[in-house]
Amino acid sequence: MKSKKHGFLKFLAVITVLFCFAAKGYSKEPYKIGAIFSVTGPASFLGEPEKNTALMLMDQINKAGGINGHPLEIIVEDSKSAEADAVLAAKKLLEKDNVLAIVGPSTTGESMALVPVMNNAKTPLVSCAAGYPITNPVNERYWIFKTPQYDVSAVEAIYTHMKKHGITKVGIVTIATGFGDAGRKALLDTAPKFGITIVADERYGAKDSDMTTQLTKIKAAGAQAVINWSVGPGQVVITKNWHDLKLGIPLYQSHGWGSKKNIELAGKAAEGVIAPLGRLVVWDKLPDKHPQKALLKKYESDYKARYKGEPGTFGGHAYDAVMMVVEALKKVGPDKAKIRDYIEKNIKKWPGTGGIFNMSEKDHCGLDMTAFEMVTVKNGDWEILK
């Protein structure tokens, strides 16, 4: 009898131990990534799709078994488009949640505010904002990367197109926000390299309802083309004003133009507007062999199925940032320095939504002018210009 009892107990012990091992296999330590987006505030048109994308990817990855069996946890914080809040959110993520990396923030201002914080915490930051100073000078941005194309690259794409069409005198009109400001600076600084003269430099506010004054001035100054740099309804108002005034000179928009909603709201006024856009909005017009086509198609249809709206190029920046960190985690595990090294050294010829990335020691952005397609609006739809 005694031996039987002992035998049963031993059996129980073995089963218990085995069970613990098995359970451990299903409940590995989660990999925590922080995300700071401008979900509310003036930049929420950036932050909302970015947050949605991050959460969608988290679910998809976890449904597929996580990262090497580890569940992925993306902790999203809202910076309310304010730098101080971004700093606060970063501190929380770094100190309370002990995240391995941070994705975001959505704006250049907030990203700049985080540079010292991330450098001090020796934790990688993959920003979803476009400003040049975020990743330059590169030797002071050891831990900082970004996924959106540089504003300068979009400007270069526009100027290249203009040069091809013999345009040398340009009027610019920009919105008085961080986005517009960065664009304006890039437009002014890059113009001489392409032999372009800026004959008019106008501005407008985010909530303005009529820009006919600015456009009239631009035409009167002798511009051969107009460039508008903004996101939000300002783009639509400018387009309608441009159309009504029959300015007779082409209207170029920034890469913020890439949303079907803009065409919808502007109606027939949008015909002929030209812009450098990320390939996400025109993936269906790409040749099938294009390395970005398949992932763009999947991203857009997944996003639409889950959120019933377009992700837009801005959501795509979060996609690229998250996927880069996830890939690094897969390959090198939960080590901040190794993740940083991986992103810098191994993200090469890497197809993302923003373009094909080539990160390096000298370039923590990885994209240039070729990330854009020059697109025009024809019959209410996008058309890639040859």
Partner: protein
Amino acid sequence: MGKTNFFVLICLGVLVLLFPLVISDSYNLTIGVFAGVNALLALGLCVLMGFAGQASLGQAGFYGIGAYISAILSIKYGLPVALSMVIAAIVSGISAIMIAVPALRLRGHYLAVATLGFGEIVYVLLNELGPGGPSGFGDIPHLNLFGYIFKSSLSNFYLVWCFVLLVIIFSFNLVNSRIGRAMKAIHDSEVASNAMGLDVAALKIKVFILSAIYASFAGSFYAHFVTFLSPSTFSLFQSILILMMVILGGASNLWGAILGAIIITILPEALRKFEELDVLVYGIILTLSLLFMRKGIVPLIIDKLKVEKKHA
């Protein structure tokens, strides 16, 4: 200062001393720093409103001037931060005089409107002419006093709150001094005060300058702590927030201002879980507080205590 107030001051001082020992993580201490900055802003407005009966919807303007001037002086001209802060305060004071002299001829809320205009104009100027425009600028140096650099949340927490305590002591002395009593008199009746020989206008201007200086230092502390500035921090909404702090806590009571500041600072953090709806919840809480706690929290508590004392 009065026995009760002295007692509360000591309590507050002890709290300030002990807080970082209990809550030592950088994140919560950072909130503590912001609470201190807001306390300075609220104190400035409280002195103006509660004791001189003047409203201001433009405190964010002085806040912004204090932040930007101090930051620009220390970056562009390499001045020591402490000196920059003082110069910024002087600039704020001068701006206050420039508005106060014409505007204080106006009655009650015409003054509030003038201050609103001032705050908005400062905002537009910061947006247009400030370094980096709407995107703001960074790389602002930390305060360096006798070789010690105030970099961490801990050091800044003590720095700001010690300043707050000093300002409280100064403000109480002001309230109980001849000037303070004169201010109270004005609040009750300007006509009578004038008849008694008080230079009402001059006193109002002085109080206005003082509130501007408090706000200016708040801005400077903010700038040299966060090391990054952008105009969006100094919008009309910020002025409204400061006003809410004072009204919520109790406009006639310095402690009310501090309590209001702490509540308004913590509220967004507590509301983080509501995400986008937090603004709505914020608005609802404020509406309900105004509807049901009109005089402000601290006076309400004081009244309740008085009633209890009577019945005791």
